[in-house]
């Protein structure tokens, strides 16, 4: 496995184009504080949204970051930490764009809208519609992974690819306070952290987001506000062989499951609690259950300057091959797998454009089913037409992480993260953070010696998000 040492090639075409675009707006530097994005800065507030009067808007950003790992891992991966998953390499995580027409939700009139998101970069593999694994997780039957966005770019590039994480139509049905219905491919409502870079406090992500929740769904989701405090969602999802998670449009369409939940918000928006869940049969080939829930509580204190978030996730998948099952010799390596975790965030707005924050988390992959080494490795696994399996992002060395034939031991994963969120302009965000990860019962982090694994790692990461 070769490691990239030159940082500039990793910027890709989008990053290079941005370097040429930035100076174009410097002539208008006197208005830069008022601008809302790079396009606004370069083109002007009206010109950059030519269809705004018709409700159609676009947006996007470029997000690039770098991580330094004190272990100096021989394989260049920051263990099971995803998104910023490479040590010492500048990653263009997201060159992201979307176009949308937001609907007016009301009881008065029908409305129709929709949204399409597309992203190119090193994060794409984590948010593609990969919910159909290369093989059925209980029976081992080879599956068609679907080709919605998994194959938009070739299998050959280890890190950079395209994803289309949202592609949906949205309708307002004029009943009661207005019923909003999404139909298509959309981000999950479970959890707290999101894929879209500008919407997170930290550059790095929690284990629950990476391993405990879906990223996207394909299906239909209706949302209704009963009053100013209570909102509920309910829908059905498909296209997945992992219980309705990360489904696509053209395979596993006979397997449908539940997605929904409820949110309570206080009048002054200072407090909220959300409980969301998914439940489905695992795949079209297996009726074994796959389910998860996510509980998120938020609170704002000190005149809305101190923000606290508590998250708990729990998931279940029955009758699947697990690391512990293989190690203990259960028939077929099958077990009923569970995973769960707790995250806490405390963030303080020192200034309008400067925040500091900490995140403490514990995630338990009880059976060795969710955390299988660097996620880019199993995520890029597929069988070719001849039936030979390969992980294009990691190659044959993938086996070094996962001793039980591709499966980890069940383990606890812990992480402490502290960081700063600084916005020198409304549309530029810089996020340095320190992070310490450690695991029990499973050495998840590679040392500088190939194949020698450690139970902890210390990283420093920093990224920049420039919003268009």
């Amino acid at each position: 496995m070769s490691r990239r040492k030159s940082i500039w090639p990793n910027l890709g075409y989008g990053g290079t184009a941005l370097l040429f675009l930035l100076p174009m707006g410097w002539a208008q530097a006197e208005t830069i504080d008022e601008t809302t994005g790079l396009a606004d800065y370069i083109m002007g507030s009206k010109e950059h949204q030519p269809l705004k009067d018709y409700g159609i808007t676009w947006g996007g950003w470029v997000n690039a970051g770098v991580t330094a790992n004190a272990n100096n891992p021989a394989d260049g991966f920051n263990g099971p930490v995803t998104f910023g998953d490479r040590d010492g390499e500048l990653q263009m995580n997201q060159l992201y764009g979307y176009v949308q027409r937001a609907i007016t939700v009301s009881g008065d009139a029908w409305d129709i809208g929709g949204r399409f998101d597309i992203t190119y970069g090193t994060d794409s593999i984590f948010t593609q519609a990969y919910g159909v694994p290369a093989y059925e997780l209980g029976t081992g039957q080879i599956l068609n992974r679907g080709n919605y966005d998994l194959h938009l770019t070739s299998w050959n590039d280890r890190f950079y690819s395209l994803a289309m994480p949202q592609f949906y139509a949205e309708f307002n049905l004029p009943v009661g306070n207005g019923l909003a219905v999404k139909a298509g491919h959309f981000y999950t409502i479970l959890g707290y952290e999101v894929v879209t870079a500008p919407d997170n406090f930290f550059y790095t992500h929690a284990y629950t987001m990476q391993y405990g929740e879906p990223f996207t769904h394909t299906g239909v989701l209706a949302t209704y506000a009963f009053d100013e405090n209570w909102t509920a969602s309910a829908g059905t999802v498909t296209g997945s062989a992992t219980g309705g998670w990360d489904g696509n449009f053209n395979t596993q369409l006979t397997n449908w499951g539940w997605l929904g939940g409820v949110t309570w918000t206080s009048d002054e928006k200072d407090y909220s609690v959300t409980l969301n869940s998914t439940a489905a049969e695992r795949s079209a080939q297996s009726s074994q259950p796959w389910a998860a829930y996510s509980l998120v509580g938020k609170a704002n204190f000190l005149d809305n300057t101190l923000h606290y978030v508590l998250q708990h996730d729990m998931g279940f998948a029955d009758g699947v091959v697990t690391g512990n099952g293989i190690a203990s010799g259960t028939p077929g390596g099958l077990q009923d797998a569970m995973w769960y975790g707790i995250n806490q965030y405390l963030m303080y707005d020192v200034l309008d454009n400067l925040g500091v924050g900490v995140r403490a988390e514990w995630f338990r992959d009880a059976n060795g089913f969710r955390v299988l080494g660097p996620q880019r490795c199993p995520g890029s696994f597929n069988y070719n037409a001849g039936g030979a399996g390969n992980t294009y992002a990691c190659g044959p060395s993938y086996g070094a992480y996962v001793p039980n034939g591709g499966y980890s031991d069940g383990a606890n994963y812990y992480a402490l993260t502290a960081g700063v969120n600084y916005k020198p302009l409304k549309w530029i965000m810089v996020r340095p953070n320190f992070r310490y990860d450690w695991s029990s019962n499973n050495n998840a982090f590679m040392s500088s010696t190939p194949g020698k694994m450690l139970d902890n790692q210390f990283t420093f990461s920093a990224d920049i998000v420039i919003t268009f």
Binding site: G55, I56, V99, T104, D199, E228, V296
Partner: protein
Amino acid sequence: MKTSNQYRDMSILLASVLALAGCAEKKPVSPEGVAIEKTLKAAEQDARSGNENKAVTEIDTAEKALIEEDKKKPYAQQSKTWSGEDIKANADRDAIKELDRARRDAKGKMAGDAADEVKKALKDVEVKEGN
């Protein structure tokens, strides 16, 4: 090489965007929104002229009006938001956040900061009402 499915997906996308453009129309601002914006403009002016007490009263009035408007016209609130989505909910939340800070600064005799925060809240309300 692109597959026929990918060409099909792109065609569907293009057709979707054109369809959305065809059915779109501009949305009016509600009477409640107009009243809140008027109160916030007064609060900003009073804060700028150093009349912090009056500004605090107007900030309170505007925030109560925002909450009352939400009771009359409730909207969906989720724990997760993505850039560009949930515009109304995010704008409303941001407006209340700025008003909380403006009230704190006005009470603390930091009238200039309070005026700036009210101005930001006004922009958030405009976004909320324009959605």
